[in-house]
Amino acid sequence: MKGSVRIVVSTKRLRYELNLRRNITIIQGDSASGKITLVQIIDDYLSGRTGPGTEVICNKKCVVLSGEEETAILRLRLLKTAVVFVDEQERFLYSKAFAEAVLDSDCYFVFVTRDGLNMLPYSINEIYYLRNSGYYQNTRQVYNSMH
């Protein structure tokens, strides 16, 4: 990974803008703030299940990993500099094998989870809180910069 990546996800009703600055970004937020909806929209878009009006704009390939751990890790190992989204419902997110695959990867990762991922090194500056403000779904940093 090199440099920051901007992602814009929009439907007729919602618009998300994310700016990934490091390889691991964590998204948190209140219930019903649209975290899982974000991942669902991207997944539906990539699978061709969305109609006109839905867009995912990013200069990197976007991927949503889900399902069994073994399959997810195999898929991850085939990816190069992609942006990988994983939702907290995926149990492999907390596994050692998946953490090792993440550390070996040159992809960008967006993890939607409130639990700590103890096996992964990520910056406290890259924990974002998703805030619902009508049409726009904005992120703000949970922790302020220490310097």
Binding site: D30, S31, A32, T113, R114, D115, G116, N132
Partner: protein, 112 residues
């Protein structure tokens, strides 16, 4: 709960009116509300409360006032005082948020 957390209105058993998503199936309720419903309706199950955001904390306490529930929690949820929570890991009963954070840290340090 559905109205407070998801800002959505339950129109029927099969239709929820969401201000953001329109009419949706109950499956598309937020993970937090679904976890709260399971806590309330199936108190014998241990629900993963990490699916619930801070805006669900008051509802977890409310359900706990009506019936004993055991939940698994992996982050420092912002519970509003006063409350009576038994931390199963230590057996301690706590009543304020500072004690909750202390218990949480102990579990994080010693149990990972």
């Amino acid at each position: 709960m559905v109205l407070d957390v998801d800002s959505s209105v339950v129109e029927s058993a099969h239709a929820i009116n969401s201000p953001v998503l329109g009419i949706i199936a109950p499956e598309r309720l937020s993970g937090g509300v679904k976890a709260l419903i399971i806590m309330y309706k199936e108190p014998d199950l241990i629900v993963n409360a990490s699916a619930c955001g801070n805006n669900c904390a008051k509802w977890i306490l409310e359900i706990g006032r009506r019936q004993d529930v055991t939940v698994r929690l992996g982050y420092e949820m912002e519970f509003e005082e006063p409350f009576d929570i038994c931390i199963k890991n230590s057996g301690h009963i706590i009543h304020n948020y500072i004690d909750f954070l202390k218990e949480f840290q102990e579990v994080e340090i010693f149990e990972g």
